[in-house]
């Protein structure tokens, strides 16, 4: 357990020194700048726009960091061979994978927390209503970000950075379209198409399930039971990917 913490803290330190948190400045400028530009809308519309943009930006920044830092978590260690001296230490490969993952999760948590704070400050600045639905939406975005990080980490245990990035982005896009797959399955006449799309619907992560931004922006929340189920789904999927990453990493040669 101690080794996992050592690796996680070092990964967090790496992220800080790589100046990953600088994206926050960009985020804050974007959000506040856009809010100022859009100030000539009606009050209601203006408030909704700020909420929409804030949630979308939090989501985008989180996912981009998850993908592009996530693929390097283990990928860069293998490519730059820093993994050699780590593996020579009394640490299990599984502990290494978990440590790397938790390190980035620490970075993402700090990043999300600050984005949330800037978002709330902006809303407050324009006297826009702050409702629980917004917090709900951000918490589900965080689950999505955890899941995307695990996807990136999973792919990087067996492929190059470029491929891992493509796979992760691909899976992310498909993950947002699984409802369409289900639609195709229902409408299609062909048994084969039905079987394939139904299988795909169950295999790929259903990321739309974690997306409640649209309604949250207009102040409509989802039932807590839904939030709990969706979060549990996302976390289980994340756990499965991490187990997969550990199994692959455990077996590979360096």
């Amino acid at each position: 357990m101690w080794s996992v913490v050592v690796i996680a803290l070092n990964t967090f330190r790496e992220n800080l020194r790589d100046k990953i948190l600088y994206n926050l400045v960009f985020f804050a400028l974007l959000l506040i700048g856009a809010s100022i530009l859009l100030a000539d809308l009606t009050i209601m519309e203006h408030h909704r726009m700020i909420a929409d943009m804030g949630l979308a930006a939090i989501n985008l920044v989180g996912v981009v960091i998850a993908i592009f830092v996530g693929i390097g978590l283990v990928g860069k260690e293998i490519e730059r061979r820093t993994v050699y001296t780590i593996m020579a230490r009394p640490i299990r490969r599984t502990q290494f994978i978990l440590g790397k993952y938790l390190g980035l999760v620490m970075t993402l948590s700090v990043n999300m927390a600050v984005m949330m704070a800037v978002f709330l400050a902006t809303l407050w600045l324009y006297r826009a209503p702050v409702h629980g639905a917004l917090v709900q939406a951000v918490s589900l975005i965080f689950v999505e970000v955890l899941l995307v990080t695990a996807m990136a980490l999973f792919f990087s245990t067996f492929s190059t950075s470029t491929l891992s990035a493509s796979f992760t982005i691909g899976l992310f896009i498909v993950g947002h379209l699984t409802m369409d797959l289900k639609g195709i399955a229902e409408k299609s006449q062909s048994e084969t198409v039905k079987a394939v799309t139904t299988a795909a619907y169950y295999i790929f992560p259903n990321l739309e399930m974690l997306n409640v931004k649209g309604q949250a922006a207009v102040g409509v929340g989802v039932p807590y039971a839904y939030q709990a189920t969706a979060s549990l789904y996302g976390l289980l999927y994340t756990a499965a990917l991490l187990v997969g990453a550990c199994i692959i990493f455990q077996r590979r040669d360096f």
Partner: protein
Amino acid sequence: MDTIRVEGLTKQFPSGWPGRPPTTVLDGLSLSVRQGEIYGFLGPNGSGKTTTIKVLIGLIRATSGTAELLGKPVGDVPTRRRIGFLPESPYFYDYLTAEEFLTFYGHLAGMDRAGLARRVSQLLEVVGLVEARTRQLRKFSKGMLQRVGLAQALIHDPDLVILDEPMSGLDPIGRKQVRDLILGLRDQGKTVFFSTHIIPDVEMICDRVGVIVKGKLLATGRVDELVNQGHTQSVEITCQGIAAERIPAIQALASRVVQRGSHSLIVLPRPDSLEQALAEIRKQGGTLISVTPHKGSLEELFFTSQGPAEQARPVARS
């Protein structure tokens, strides 16, 4: 008990194409390293030194055969607390300072905070990086990286140290420092296993040597035994004041004669004709400048090794 025991180690890498046979990099390699000795693992480029070391560290799995470190099969995680490792041309986290770097590796080895800080400054002193201790590794030169890598391998005071080409990238002073460091480790009762393709490195400090060629152990034994084995030893004579080229008696003894101005270089294929050749030079009125015996063995092993590798030939059992 042997500190390192390798038996019948074979490693094949898949060719990456179905139908194409895999490449065999290690081919039934066996060797043993005793407690407290310095073992030189000598072999030309591409002979399988790094591959062997990767198996020992658990970075790759052998296709067949067994390998044990400190009495435990390779891959045993707790045993690694007692093992130090420096990879070939090492890459490290370049965002860390030398101090942070060593502290990190100390933590990974399960060391506690109290002893660690002292150990870090002690090792930085040993490898001559005290001035650079707060500098990030990205600003280190190649030689400095090699040094901090060595410190990393020793931070947790391991019983067995495995070094892959520890002297590469170092200047003559650095090489000497590393040699002294390795000798110092032996004085503390540690076992050192290091690979190299540079013969003098081995001759100077190793207790025993293993010569690996094409994935097989070609010879193993004490350095002096390998060097003085009954191989033909050539002798080079340099002398002045005669035209050795034109003296048939010398021509008859020599395998090669080179004339440069007033200097002659005479190469005798066998040492037992040395007295005869010297007598002839004196008779002709020449002045002797130097006599250099060429102790072939290790070098010869290297050169003959370009042919098909033979079975391991144990030279000494002591």
